[in-house]
């Protein structure tokens, strides 16, 4: 196996996502792309009313101001891939664990027993529980992604930053004996976002575009619930009046 022999030499990554709230229009294309890429099950209407919808990335909508100046604000929220993730230590069976090389939070579906402690301890509430066996209305079952496990009843799932794409690009680079190019790795939501509100890359690489974006926008960058000390890997750039625009 390629991985076993070379895991010592594989480079470390700090995968990071930037969400530019100034560009986000709330169109939800990212949500659809994620569903298609990651085999996210479809939850029926009744269950959605009960708060059991599963969207690895979803748009939090907040209202700002009073009528007639009322405005909708969107925060696309996905797993924040925290460096110090609260969901990890509480899992009794290591189903939720940290990849130190990739700096990602992994979720091992077939190890998960469904204590749901991780969701309780997750301040961003971006982990989703399979209350029923996964369902895909025809013809959706014909477009399931073979690179991604379809999760069974009773386990937790969450955004992986499209780990299957990261791995595939890394393996390809490895087999061709070259370094990984940043434009090779692109999660489904980033690929799809029409106004390019989402950006993705390795923050460990000083020349990567993502570092340029973060460095160039320090005055309007923030992380969700930074005060909790979770050190999220998702950087948000403030929108609206934060820099004079609408």
């Amino acid at each position: 196996m390629v991985n076993d022999q070379t895991s010592q030499t594989l480079p470390e990554h700090k995968w990071t996502m930037v969400v530019d709230l100034d560009r986000c229009t709330g169109c939800s294309a990212c949500v659809v792309a994620c569903h298609a890429e990651n085999n996210v099950p479809i939850v029926n209407e009744d269950q959605v009313w009960r708060g059991r919808s599963i969207h690895w990335i979803h748009l939090q909508r907040y209202w700002e101001g009073d009528y007639p100046q009322k405005q909708a604000r969107f925060i696309p929220t996905m797993c924040q891939q925290c460096a110090k993730a609260p969901c990890e230590p509480v899992c009794p069976v290591y189903a939720s664990l940290h990849s130190t090389r990739q700096n990602l939070n992994l979720q091992v579906y077939n190890r998960c027993v469904g204590t749901r402690y991780c969701e309780n301890n997750d301040p961003y509430k971006v982990r989703f529980f399979n209350f029923y066996p996964p369902r895909f209305d025809p013809p959706l079952e014909q477009q399931l992604n073979p690179d991604v496990t379809v999760r069974s009843l009773g386990v937790m799932e969450k955004c992986t930053f499209c780990l299957q794409r990261i791995n595939r690009a890394e393996q390809a680079a490895l087999s061709e004996g070259r370094a990984l190019r940043m434009d090779e790795v692109i999660p489904a939501c980033v690929q799809t976002c029409p106004p390019s509100a989402l950006m993705f890359g390795d923050a460990n690489d000083p020349n990567s575009p993502i570092r340029q974006v973060i460095n160039g926008n320090r005055y309007r960058s923030f992380r969700l619930l930074e005060s909790l000390g979770t050190e999220p890997a998702v950087v948000y750039l403030k929108g609206g009046e934060a820099h004079g625009g609408q």
């Binding site: 009960r50 939090q60 509480v90 402690y117 309780n120 961003y124 386990v155």
Partner: protein, 486 residues
């Protein structure tokens, strides 16, 4: 008292000749079980009678409870076969009634062993008839509680992943997780308290064995008594073992409920992340547990006709204990409430709003009423707290209040978190209701079963207490003297 009378057993000694002293002696004997011994045969007969004869109503209630247990099993099976989704939990309230039940039944289980062990360590003279009932509350309460972490799992059939068993993949449970600490603490406590209860039951099993007439019952008791025959050596060993358990169990008891509280306190969730949760939960557990013991004692006394053993002095003592616990609980509650109130963190404010004025208000105010107003207004008065119906009412209220406390913390509190978009409300569904009813049935079912097999009063402990105390005529009146206990 003449010298030759001192050698007579107490029940044959005449009362003093002076009518004032006689009245005093009689009154003291009525009040204190330890001063009112009866012939051993008579005592055993009183204790053993309910185990051999049961009225029809008993069997009917027992069947009803059995039906409850069966319902629990069936609903659990349905839930496992395909749809954990039938329960009411939903994002963000991922734990609800099941975990509240778990904490509640662990809490009930707490007081039993504590009362028994701590009262034994402190050599409280009136503990005799209480200890068995208390220990049983622990053993059966913990058995019921241990079901809930399994019931609540998404994949119950994989629950064994939590157990540290050697396996080819070298996978172990994560010792970082409070749930694993929980598992270890609870299995330790269940093992210790079962052994403790079993040890203290041995002499009674032996006594029941010697009096049993039905062959299957005799055979069962012969095996169960481990050949205890009451020799000097056996008693010495038994006492040593009980002493070891007494002192070992008290710290274990404190640690267990502290660890249960850490399931919540270690989390980042607003309302859970509190440093006072350890002692707060320990006191809460003792509070609901002591009330549960009172309920059991009152029912046992009434329906098994054990008025001789369980007297006003016991209810007086337990009532006082409950009052102290209520005061302590209120202190910790206030502590837990004040710090977030003063801090005014947005999520904490939203959480207290939900309890004070929101949809949690009925439960929150009922909890305060049941845990503080009811006990404080009744238990301070000796006449009221020794009145059985009143004390029973208080005990039931306390249990309702403490149950609601767990519901408030788990099911209602989880609905509020840091990001308002994710706030939610938990709605109770039928499966959880049925399983909760089933859990209470299981507790009752086990109690009923036990009450027909073995004596619910530890006769030997009562007799031990009676040998230590004596009524003497000193100076102007009758006084109680205590022996050394040797």
């Amino acid at each position: 008292m003449a010298a030759n009378e001192a050698h007579l057993p107490v029940w044959k000694r005449p009362l003093p000749e002076d009518p004032r002293l006689a009245r005093q002696a009689q009154q003291l004997r009525e009040e204190h079980l330890n001063l009112d011994p009866r012939p051993p045969d008579e005592m055993m007969e009183t204790v053993m009678r309910p185990t051999t004869r049961a009225p029809l109503a008993f069997w009917l209630i027992w069947l009803l409870l059995g039906g409850g247990v069966l319902t629990l099993g069936i609903v659990w099976l349905i839930q496992m076969i395909g749809c954990i989704g039938i329960v009411g939990i939903s994002r963000p309230v991922m734990w609800a009634v099941y975990i509240a039940n778990f904490v509640y039944f662990i809490g009930i289980g707490h007081a039993g062993t504590f009362i028994s062990a701590a009262f034994r360590a402190l050599k409280i003279s009136w503990r005799g008839p209480i200890s068995r009932a208390a220990e049983l509350v622990t053993v059966f309460g913990l058995t019921t509680a241990a079901l809930f972490p399994m019931i609540h799992l998404g994949r119950t059939w994989k629950g064994y992943y939590l157990i540290p068993y050697p396996n080819g993949r070298g996978l172990w449970p994560s010792f970082h997780s409070p749930l694993v600490w929980d598992l270890i603490a609870i299995t330790t406590y269940l093992t210790c308290s079962t052994l403790f209860a079993y040890l203290s039951i041995l002499p009674d099993v032996a006594m029941a064995r010697d009096r049993a007439t039905i062959p299957w019952r005799r055979r069962f008791l012969e095996v169960f008594s481990l050949g205890f025959s009451g020799t000097e050596g056996q008693w010495a060993t038994l006492n040593t073992a009980l002493n070891v358990f007494t002192y070992a169990l008290i710290p274990v008891m404190f640690s267990v409920h502290t660890i249960v509280s850490w399931d919540f306190a270690m989390a980042l969730q607003p309302g859970w992340h509190s440093t006072v949760f350890g002692p707060y939960f320990v006191v809460g557990a003792l509070f609901s547990g002591a009330a549960a013991v009172i309920i059991v004692l009152a029912l046992v006394r009434k329906f098994m006709h054990l008025e001789y053993f369980i007297r006003k002095e016991h209810f007086n003592g337990m009532g006082l204990f409950l009052l102290i616990l209520s005061l302590t609980w209120a202190y910790f509650f206030f502590n837990d409430y004040l710090a977030p109130w003063y801090g005014k963190a947005p999520a904490d404010v939203a959480l207290s709003m939900r309890f004070e004025r929101g949809l949690g208000a009925p439960y929150w105010y009922l909890m305060l009423f049941a845990n503080i107003v009811v006990p404080w207004s009744i238990l301070w008065n000796r006449r009221w707290r020794t009145s059985l119906p009143l004390l029973l009412t208080v005990a039931v209220f306390v249990n309702v209040g403490m149950y609601l406390e767990r519901i408030n913390i788990v099911a209602i509190g989880l609905g509020i978190n840091e990001l308002p978009f994710d706030w939610g409300v938990y709605r109770l569904q039928l499966p959880e209701t049925l399983i909760t009813i089933g859990a209470f049935s299981l507790l009752g079912f086990l109690f009923f079963l036990f009450s027909r097999l073995l004596p619910i009063i530890p006769v030997w402990e009562v007799q031990e207490g009676q040998q230590e105390e004596e009524l003497r005529h000193e100076g102007a009146g009758m006084v109680v003297t205590r022996g050394t206990g040797e």
